[in-house]
């Protein structure tokens, strides 16, 4: 029997990880319609809010955190929830489950493409701000970049959780909206959580995007409502929780 040493094993797992990631990038995320959708969606949202806010470049600073968050959230959830459900339906996902790759690594590989796609989406609003000559000098990029990555990760794992919970592609879309639209309203994207009715405010703090957007508000305009360290901690906890929940559901529902 072939016995793999530890380095061999790690090398093979890395190859498997990259194969899944590159296959997904080629098959889904780098397809021209998806790239254009990834550009179009943030462009339209940013343009819409920019016009509504009076078109002053100073307004971009208050719009950017919400725009970045919403672009990532919609980009990742739309793609991953649908592609995983589609592969599951076509039984292609079984091929992944049959591979000698630990389930956690397999799902991380599967979600990495969506995370990268989310990060790509996030920088479209920044590009628009750059074109509109927004002053980026006060931006704390050391906080913005990890915040973008964390928002992309948490949105992707939410999408994975959704994908595991449904069996049809159309259900993936409708179930995604069940989370996405309340988050647009409740997570302080375009107005502070403190302006929400009192009875809704506790709900905001149960949603991961509240913390991610708060980091962006702090890093872009200095108006975060919670300490950034607390926001980062909460984001990491949500990422862990969603990943573990999704894996548990996969074990329970897909490896029956």
């Amino acid at each position: 029997m072939v016995v793999l040493d530890n380095n061999d094993r790690k090398g093979k797992l890395f190859t498997a990880f990259m194969s899944i990631l590159m296959k997904d990038m080629r098959a889904y995320y780098l397809k021209p319609p998806n790239i254009s959708w990834g550009l179009l969606f943030p462009l339209v949202w940013t343009g819409m809010f920019f016009v509504k806010s009076g078109m002053g470049s100073e307004n971009i600073l208050s719009l950017l955190p919400g725009m970045v968050s919403i672009s990532i959230l919609f980009g990742t959830t739309s793609m991953l929830a649908v592609t995983v459900t589609f592969e599951r339906k076509a039984k292609a996902f079984e091929r992944l489950l049959l591979a000698p790759v630990p389930l956690g690594l397999l799902m991380f590989a599967k979600t990495s493409g969506a995370i990268l796609f989310g990060i790509f989406n996030a920088f479209v609003p920044f590009l628009i701000g750059f074109i509109l000559l927004t002053d980026f000098s006060a931006f704390v990029w050391e906080a913005i970049v990890p915040a973008v990555i964390l928002i992309a990760a948490v949105s992707t794992f939410l999408a994975m959780f959704i994908a595991v919970s449904v069996s049809e592609v159309f259900e993936a879309q409708t179930f995604s909206n069940f989370f996405r639209f309340p988050m647009m309203f409740l997570c302080g994207l375009f107005f502070p959580v403190s302006e929400l009715p009192d009875f809704l405010q506790p709900l905001s703090f149960l949603l991961p995007l509240t913390y991610g957007t708060d980091i962006l508000h702090g890093a872009i305009a200095g108006n975060n409502m919670m300490p950034l360290s607390f926001d980062f901690l909460m984001m990491l906890l949500f990422i862990l929780l969603l990943f573990v929940l999704a894996l548990r559901n996969i074990h329970r529902k897909w490896v029956m």
Binding site: M1, V2, L4, G11, K12, L13, T15, A16, M18, S19, I20, K23, A27, E87, A90, K91, A92, E94, R95, L96, L97, L98, A99, P100, V101, P102, V255, M256
Partner: protein, 316 residues
């Protein structure tokens, strides 16, 4: 064939109130071509899913290549290739890209998997459509590529679930030839099928599975031994009336008389059956004999005897 490559003991799986697999045990030896034979719904696919890691057993143990799959399934998956009953490759990728991707899942290096993909596309007669998307393949081509994907990483153990079901004759023949070649080269093959002739022609040993139970495991030669030299004559008559088996039994006390699947009579004997006498007796009783055929007993007859299932149930 020296040691057990796959060892299954007390394997059980239920879905709600339905027991799909009911405490089965068997061994598959190193280098053996092992057939798993049973009608649809017997529990074959559930068994193969448990052996390959797509389903969790409720009870029992599985050892593959010496690895206990109960807690080390991912380690065992290095050793196995799986060809499921439905093609499960990526419709939007080409045949070549699908194979390269499958190789990547098993950690094959880029140059290694490219070379192997070209080799397999040649072997399976798909070189001409290597750059065509999988969604554009015919059913037979899809099946062949799915088998190629299963052996992409040259696994020492190969599981195939109904590999020739629903495909054209040419693809089925090519598939059988390739399986025989893999068998000759020492690959352990676990083959589920409901084609009895296919199992009889290809397998070293066969397990009969019915209603979640393995009712018999033996070599093909041992299974057919009790019926070797026995002869069967089947006669069908015109009209709606059927011959009375009791009367025929009295007339031919040395023969075994029964009803054939088509409603005619089936006569079985350890010696030679005089067909002329049979026809005359039927005609004397007022029947118009439409057809009489003499056959040797086959594995299908053995299967029917052992399982108690009706003839033709495997084709349903």
């Amino acid at each position: 064939m020296s040691e057990a490559h796959i060892r299954v003991s007390g394997l059980r799986k239920s879905f709600g109130d339905v027991t799909a697999v009911d405490g089965i045990s068997f061994d598959v030896m190193d280098g053996e071509l092992f057939g798993f034979l049973g009608p649809n719904g017997a529990g074959k696919t559930t068994t193969i899913n448990m052996l390959t890691g797509l389903a969790r057993p409720d009870a029992g143990t599985i050892t593959v290549g010496g690895i206990d799959c109960t807690n080390k399934m991912k380690s065992a998956q290095h050793l196995i290739g799986v060809v499921p009953d439905e093609s499960n490759l990526y419709p939007e990728l080409t045949g070549y890209d699908n194979l390269c991707f499958c190789g990547g899942l098993y950690g094959m290096r880029s140059s290694e998997r490219k070379g192997r993909a070209v080799e397999l596309l040649e072997l399976f007669g798909l070189a001409g459509v290597a750059e065509r998307k999988f969604s554009g393949y015919s059913r037979g081509m899809k099946r062949r590529l799915t088998i190629a994907a299963g052996i992409m990483h040259s696994p020492p153990i190969l599981f195939l679930d109904e590999p020739t079901t629903g495909i054209d004759v040419q693809s089925a023949r090519l598939t059988r030839e390739i399986l025989q070649e893999l068998h000759r080269s020492g690959t352990t093959i676990f083959l589920t099928t409901h084609y009895i002739e296919e199992a009889e022609r290809m397998c070293d040993r066969i397990a009969f599975m019915v209603n979640g139970l393995v009712v018999r495991v033996d070599s093909v030669s041992n299974l057919v031994k009790p019926v070797e030299g026995r002869e069967v004559v089947q006669a069908s008559v015109l009209g709606t009336e059927v011959p009375d088996l009791e009367i025929l039994g009295d007339l031919f006390p040395d023969y075994g008389i029964g009803r054939a699947a088509d409603g005619g009579i089936r006569i079985e004997s350890t010696g030679k059956i005089d067909v002329g006498v049979v026809v005359r007796v039927l005609e004397d009783q007022g029947f118009d004999v439409a057809e009489v055929k003499r056959t040797a007993l086959s594995l299908e007859d053995v299967f029917i005897r052992i399982t108690g299932l009706e003839a033709g149930v495997m084709n349903k």
